[in-house]
């Protein structure tokens, strides 16, 4: 197999940025083996995979973080803007370089399991590192959404980040003072929340993440809530009460989220809202 012409990786990244990505990196497909379970590695999805191209972007704007209405971030999701970039990149790789490319669908293989962990891909492509709250944070741009393309093309892999964005200096200081950080304080696992953790030698070590509870917050109105109300309705013997359930605010809103994807992407950002490393480095007015 002929290798890529010199400068191909740089060209690919340039196209990705022009196409709307904020960042673009490449991970070696083999690097996933040590971290991803079987059936969820690049080679399981595309036999012969050699690289995984990862793009990040479509992050909430500064105004989105500043908005006081919860409906802004909950209903005006923008993640699909980066999905379009990933899809176009896959087409570009095939047409320009002549190698197989597979755009990783952002949905789930079954239940809550993705085909390929986009967060892991972002880390291995050197685009960010896992935070105490969970999301992968980029050092310059903070919280963003990811899309990935698996390919047989041997692009040059980037190195994993060595200086993580989390914990931010302010969080280290807070930990030294109060034994907590903004994200842990906002959503404490010990008090009905999703997160617990600790810092050691200035590094984040997550010790507890309640994914099921987080799901009720990130996807308050979606498939899970729909299923819950349906079950309750079927078990409700009183017909009037059934109407209250099926026509009620919660079920109606859940149906909206099922229909219009921008309203179901993510419905809780509180750990990221308080995170000093999540919002990028730009001053706004």
């Amino acid at each position: 197999m002929a290798e890529l012409p010199a400068g191909s990786t740089a060209k690919l990244k340039s196209i990705a940025l022009k196409g709307g990505a904020t960042v673009c990196g490449v991970a070696d497909a083999v690097a996933f083996d040590a971290h991803a379970p079987e059936k969820h590695r690049p080679g399981d999805l595309l036999p012969g995979a050699r690289s995984v191209v990862v793009v990040g972007g479509a992050q909430p704007r500064e105004g989105d973080w500043a908005a006081t209405s919860p409906w802004v971030m909950q209903t005006m999701g923008t993640t699909e803007r980066i999905q379009g970039v990933g899809r176009r990149l896959a087409q570009y790789i095939e047409s320009e370089f002549g190698y197989y490319a597979l755009y990783v669908p952002p949905g789930t293989a079954s239940g809550d399991t993705p085909f390929l962990s986009l967060m892991l891909a972002a880390q291995l492509a050197g685009l960010g590192s896992k935070s105490l709250a969970g999301p992968v944070l980029n050092r310059e741009h903070g919280f963003m959404y990811w899309s990935a393309v698996i390919t047989t093309a041997p692009f040059d892999a980037d190195s994993v980040e060595t200086s993580p964005a989390c914990p931010a200096p302010a969080c280290r200081e807070m930990w030294d003072r109060e034994r907590t950080t903004p994200c842990l304080a906002t959503c404490p696992g010990s008090n009905g929340g999703c997160l617990s953790g600790k810092l050691e030698n200035g590094r984040a070590v997550r010790t507890f993440y309640d994914a099921a509870r987080c799901n009720t917050r990130v996807h308050t109105h979606w498939v899970g809530g729909f299923q819950k109300v349906l079950e309750e309705t079927l078990n409700e013997p009183d017909r009037d009460k059934r109407k209250m359930l099926l026509y009620g605010d919660f079920f109606t809103r859940s149906l909206w989220a099922i229909t219009y994807s921008s309203t179901n992407i993510a419905q809780c950002f509180e750990c990221m809202r308080v995170c000093p490393a999540a919002h990028g480095l730009r001053e706004m007015r």
Partner: protein, 303 residues
């Protein structure tokens, strides 16, 4: 510019793009911003000051309730069905044709410009219903205040005097902008409709849909106008969230398993589920009042 290439926004504002009262090569900030929106696919762009919303909008639903420090609301109007779609005798085509929602793309382009180049906060205004039929902010009212159209007899749809029916999206920003003024001349009633009302006491939209609409015209102006939104919902979103809920309630209340089965697999319930899966199927499903509306009709006359 090649496909997939992001436009260099600064290149858009080269000396040949003159405008407004400014002589020579300089565009005003408002013109720059509108140019971004129009380049991104909006048909029209207008600006309203946040103060203008205070008169008629209850607290909690105003732009300043949504973004602290908000100064301006920029509204983009985008096209709906194509001229060809209006001519299709099968109403089901328009029910599921969906739109490219270009006005939302324009809003994002303008938000990116405001934050990226002008360093002020900008957010897409939340416009999808969050409690029943109620959105956090009215795009219709924003369009009125931004001078993009006026309310009509037809479901109080905002009609742009040039293009007629457009779809609206908006952004809220902390950037102070010179606002446009609401239109002083209403688009509705069209002179032809006013003449028709004088002659036979009705207008094309009122005549085609008396179930949802009611109204009177006097001296060429709307005197009264009523709109039954809930009945309209059964027409404008025949297959969607509402029909799914209605169908599901009937299904769970049906004791006979055979009847229940026919209801679950019925055309009506199947189409309802389909419109949940493909959101474009459920955006707008009735156009009869707009089909007969003469405002903007010249753009539907093609070969």
């Amino acid at each position: 510019m090649r496909s997939g290439e992001r436009p260099n926004l600064l290149e858009l504002f080269t000396p040949h793009r003159t405008g407004g009262d400014y002589p020579g090569a300089v565009m005003t900030r408002e013109e720059q911003l509108k140019a971004v929106g129009l380049e991104a696919g909006a048909r029209v762009v207008g600006i309203a000051a946040v103060e203008a919303f205070r008169e008629k909008v209850p607290q909690g639903y105003r732009p300043e309730d949504i973004l602290p420090g908000a100064r301006s609301v920029v509204v983009a109007g985008g096209d709906g069905p194509t001229a060809g779609a209006w001519r299709c005798p099968d109403h089901r085509v328009m029910e599921i044709t969906g739109y490219d929602l270009r006005e939302n793309v324009a809003v994002h382009a303008m938000c990116d410009f405001i934050e990226g180049t002008l360093s002020h906060h900008a957010i897409q205004a939340p416009s999808l219903p969050v409690h029943g039929h109620e959105p956090p902010m009215s795009m219709m009212h924003a369009a009125e205040l931004a001078g993009l159209g006026t309310r009509s007899l037809a479901a109080h749809i905002i009609l742009n005097p040039e293009y007629g029916l457009l779809y609206y999206a908006a952004l809220i920003t902390t950037l102070p902008l010179e606002p446009d003024q609401p239109l002083t001349e209403p688009a509705c009633p069209h002179p032809g409709c006013a003449a028709m009302y004088k002659r036979i006491g009705t207008t094309p939209c009122l005549r085609v849909c008396p179930a949802c609409l009611g109204g009177t015209v006097q001296d060429g102006r709307i005197q009264t106008s009523t709109y039954d939104r809930e009945k309209c919902h059964s027409r404008a979103q025949t297959y969607g969230i509402g029909s799914f809920q209605k169908g599901l309630l009937q299904i769970v209340n049906e004791d006979d398993p055979e009847r229940r089965r026919t209801m679950i697999y019925s055309d009506f319930f199947t189409k309802s589920i389909q419109s949940l899966g493909f959101f474009r199927d459920s955006i707008a499903q009735c156009f009869e009042c707009m089909r007969v509306c003469p405002v903007g009709r010249k753009y539907r006359k093609l070969q």
